[in-house]
Subunit: 321 residues, 2 copies
């Protein structure tokens, strides 16, 4: 399933993985064979102290609910949005969590006495998606959530690139006359298929604005039809950018918008086919056959975080005492 | 300079590299220390037999002019446009050479009795540019010629991706209302900064249409100004696509359009700066500082082909007898 060993040289059999989102933490406990033996969701705190506390409480609750001791936990991996320095275990600019700069690993380790490892949430999810979907070779994980970003996994390893911007296709502009992006450019892929940008462009209140938008499109609403088309078009552009630059074999789509299920999958496939219709070169790439959708509620992100934690080397464990 | 050894286990000290273009072959001879000891250009033939003949004659002329014997040549590497099967030494769909499918390595080896290795011309040039420019880590070589394509080199190795489309950013669309591309899509990066597309859009006869276009832009011609701006804009889009997906550290620009020299370099830098002006995220990437231009007439492509040839392993040499 994965080429990252979950065996722990310190003899602690449980790996914990946390996907820390803007509103909730998704936590899984994984045994040495790679099986998920427990899972729970808890709210995320706001600001440095509350984020650390909610992470610590999530690990404790997971242990309690699944009858294992913290002393049996070999590592905790945390996937978190923002700019992550994996080596230092620090996260910067996690604006959705009210965090400017936080020594997350050190502070959490201090409380729980367990090794922590921190990774960008999309990169961790990419690793988890590759493992859960059994993707060998090269894969991009395209996260369609509030924002849009991708992580690239090659032969079971996160592809880091030179400065950590690998897979940042959300901020490639594909239309100079497109909507203004939060990043300051116009027509970024994220303005077409990011949940935040679409919600803003839709502009009608509702608990599930993108679902409302899809329902309105089904009912023939012109704005909804246009925005739904933008979503398909933007996701297809992201897939093309990932294949025509990094040349990944497969693109796995995840993130909050996968709650749309088949409506999303079929729409993106159709957009890829339509975009290739006039181009023998693009047709030859068969992109519509190279995408997969994660099931809504997939534990890929938290599972990937557990894999990140499990990748702590023996040397690091020794050097940390 | 490069981590590919030029030492030859068979004891033949000379490596030859050929960059086979639509009109001419650029050939270099390289000694075991990686120094270019000879270089010449010859016309390329049209069609299978003539292409093989022009390649064989280029090697023979290079030996003759530089006073070495064919028996001293350890390998010949050939960079050639088209779909290359490097393992089989075959090239398909080299339309500019009148070649549909040619067993180039086998046919050339038969005549000269020297090991041949074949590689896509842009990938070979990428390897040569990385070596000649002393780029360690990750680099993309963006070829601005008649068409537009990039090759990616990571730690001195050509990055192949899963299906050979790594770096094919020329056919990413960045404007849905853009010009029709030869590939069938609209607004491809190649329609903005490919020499062929610009020459067609310029539409005025001349031996050096892009130079004419630049001179006309300097003189205030509105169409020329608009097309020159397209060139800068397209090249900047290609740089962004390479960094925001594969996250290469450096983009080296080569190809025929580098004859424009500083006018090209300054324009692309300015377009990168202008594109980042409104975006703190893009500004933080400092893309304008991460591009380099190959000097016009650089032997990078032929030198890279020599490196490709030199990468023939001892095992292959034995298995080929």
């Amino acid at each position: 399933m994965t080429n990252i060993s979950l065996a722990d040289p310190s003899g602690r059999p449980i790996r914990v993985g946390l996907d820390v989102g803007g509103t909730k933490i998704d936590a899984v406990a994984v045994d040495a064979s790679g099986r998920i033996i427990g899972r729970l969701r808890r709210p995320t705190g706001w600001g440095d102290d509350a984020v650390v506390e909610s992470i610590v409480l999530a690990v404790a609750a997971l242990a309690d609910e699944n009858s294992f001791a913290i002393s049996e936990v070999g590592s905790v991996g945390v996937g978190i949005p923002g700019l992550v320095d994996a080596g230092a275990g620090r996260v910067d600019h996690a604006v959705n969590l009210g965090v400017e700069s936080l020594d997350l690993a050190a502070r959490s380790e201090e409380v729980l006495g367990v090794q922590f490892r921190v990774e960008n949430d999309v990169k961790a999810a990419a690793l988890g998606a590759a493992a859960l979907n059994g993707v060998a070779g090269s894969m991009a994980y395209l996260n369609l959530g509030t924002g849009v970003a991708a992580g690239i996994v090659i032969d079971g390893q996160i592809w880091r690139g030179s400065r950590g911007t690998a897979g940042e296709v959300g901020h490639l502009s594909v239309d100079p006359r497109g909507r203004l992006c939060g990043c300051g450019q116009h027509g970024c892929i994220e303005t077409f298929c990011g949940g935040g940008a679409l919600t803003k462009a839709w502009g009608r209140p509702g608990a599930l604005p993108i679902k409302d938008l899809f329902d309105a499109a089904d009912a023939g609403d012109p704005l909804a039809l246009s925005l739904r088309n933008d979503l398909y078009h933007g996701a297809a552009a992201a897939v093309r950018a990932l294949v025509l630059s990094a040349d990944v074999e497969t693109v796995v789509i995840g993130g909050g918008l996968t709650a749309l299920g088949e409506r999303l999958e079929n729409g993106v496939r159709a957009a890829l086919r339509a975009g290739a219709e006039a181009s023998p070169f693009m047709r030859s790439l068969r992109l519509d056959e190279r995408i997969e959708l994660l099931p809504a509620g997939s534990p890929a992100a938290a599972f990937g975080a557990a894999l990140v934690g499990a990748s702590i080397t023996e040397k690091e464990i020794v050097s940390h005492g």
